[in-house]
Amino acid sequence: MQMIDNFVVVLCFIGIILVGYYFSKTSQDMDSFYKANRALPWSLVVGTLMASWYGGAGVVGTVGYSTTMGFAAFFLWSIGAHAVRFPLALWIAPRISVKAKGTIPDLLREHYGKFAAVLGAVVIVVSCLSIGEVAAVGYVGEGAWHADKFVVAAIVVVISIGITCLGGLMGVAVTDMIFFFLMVTCVSAAFPGLFFSVGGLEGIKAALAQPAPEMITALGGIPIPQAVMLIVLCINLYKDPSFYQRFAAANSPKTGKRAMLLCFSIWLSFDVVTMMTGTIIRVLDPELTVQPEVQYIALIAGELPMIVRGLFIVGILGAIISTLDSYYLIGGEIVANDIIYMIRGDRKLDDKTSISVTRVFAVIFGIIGLASAFQFDRVYDAFLFLASLSMTLLFVPMIAALMYDGRKTDVGGVASMIVGGAAWIFFQYACPIVISGVTLDPVLIGLPLSFIAFLIGNRFGKDLSAERRLKGI
């Protein structure tokens, strides 16, 4: 990185903070701060969905696992993962836009009562710490400047908190759009040069034929049952609070749906670029002597001319920032409007206090994320534990709340959450199931059990439909 590149990086981030500052003047009440007045246009929803999805794990992480998975990363993770998410775009996104008046815990509360809402709120708030994203900043800092990862992460976290605190969802969405544009155009523009420098696909296949022949096959040597399992697990997006928030903030149900449908095609094309880059890194370094994520940043930065190189770093750091600020905003919103609301005996905070509490918690989330991201092992394991657990806990009750208009009771909701969570813990730690040498992911056992518990539980307890009708939900 030359001086001019660093100048571009600093200038861009000053500009981004100013955008946040501009929107701080317009986001004075809760609806504008948390939901952007439910007025996000189609283009802005595309940009914010793209940028929030491709965080540190989405770009740098994809390159990392493609260095071992090769073409299978595209056939399994990209095509398969997006294919199972089509129902989310086609049927669930419009329903979120119509039905969602608040947050995910709010939805759980309306359908299953207070206990389900508390459980949901705790799990989502912990996952909003985004520890993995903070850790991913380290690779960028090391690859671009050989800098201390903690210092770079601290700067990125401060910018993320700044955008969250100043502009609310509209500020986050507009900065997401800028980051999305820079990230996709810079990364994609650098790719052809890199691709043809190793002799294109024939060159890649020849280079990998000896050290890793499985990387140039569609399934990468992964057994078909395991491949199916990996694809099914990609439904994790269905309970992602940032997608829920974007669909709820879209200016119409069709906007969220069509934005996501277009995102699938952009994701697919961009995945080809990032996954092929990962494969090229393996060609250049078959023994993977250097951390692939760090090498990726250095490699792409080396391909681009000055100034564009600076914009590429802004785009990559921006991808991480846009994920962090989204989750900080959601976490803060849930603390202010769900957890504190319930602690106060169902008394709402006024708009100004609610926004202030969200801002304070955005800062707290940033500090916790920063303090724990580099302590790793146990902290990161705990984070992964809760993130995986949240799938079996939230998926069935959330989808039922959005898609099923019949009888739903508090017992049904809580039972599905507890049985799903307990089944995941049991089959993850106490009794892992192995079929033909493949360990079955506990999520795949937890989800059907959670659904059965929902059906049985629905026969008991209080149906809250009448109350929802009274509230006009």
Binding site: G47, F181, A189, K257, S269
Partner: protein, 83 residues
């Protein structure tokens, strides 16, 4: 009144398979087939040029669409202010 609201809601939730929704689903399927074919049959143009090109074209298109919306909103507002 309630029924009209429900009808509107139903209309908003409907998937237009023969409209934009269907076209966007088809676009994904076509791209997946083309990229997959290109990867397995070593067609450099598809992977080296077309994939990054399509990513850039759609991204620039979305970005320009947003810019025009902001611009028309700003000029519309200005016009209103001066009236």
């Amino acid at each position: 009144m309630q029924e009209t609201k429900k009808d509107n809601e139903k209309d908003e939730l409907k998937v237009e398979w023969l409209g934009i929704d269907g076209a966007l689903v088809l676009l994904f399927i076509v791209l997946a087939c083309v990229y997959g074919y290109g990867m397995l049959h070593s067609i450099d143009f598809i992977i080296g040029i077309m994939a990054p090109g399509i990513a850039i074209i759609i991204t620039v298109g979305v970005f320009l669409k947003y810019c025009t919306e902001v611009f028309s909103f700003a000029t519309g507002k200005k016009g209103k202010d001066t009236e």
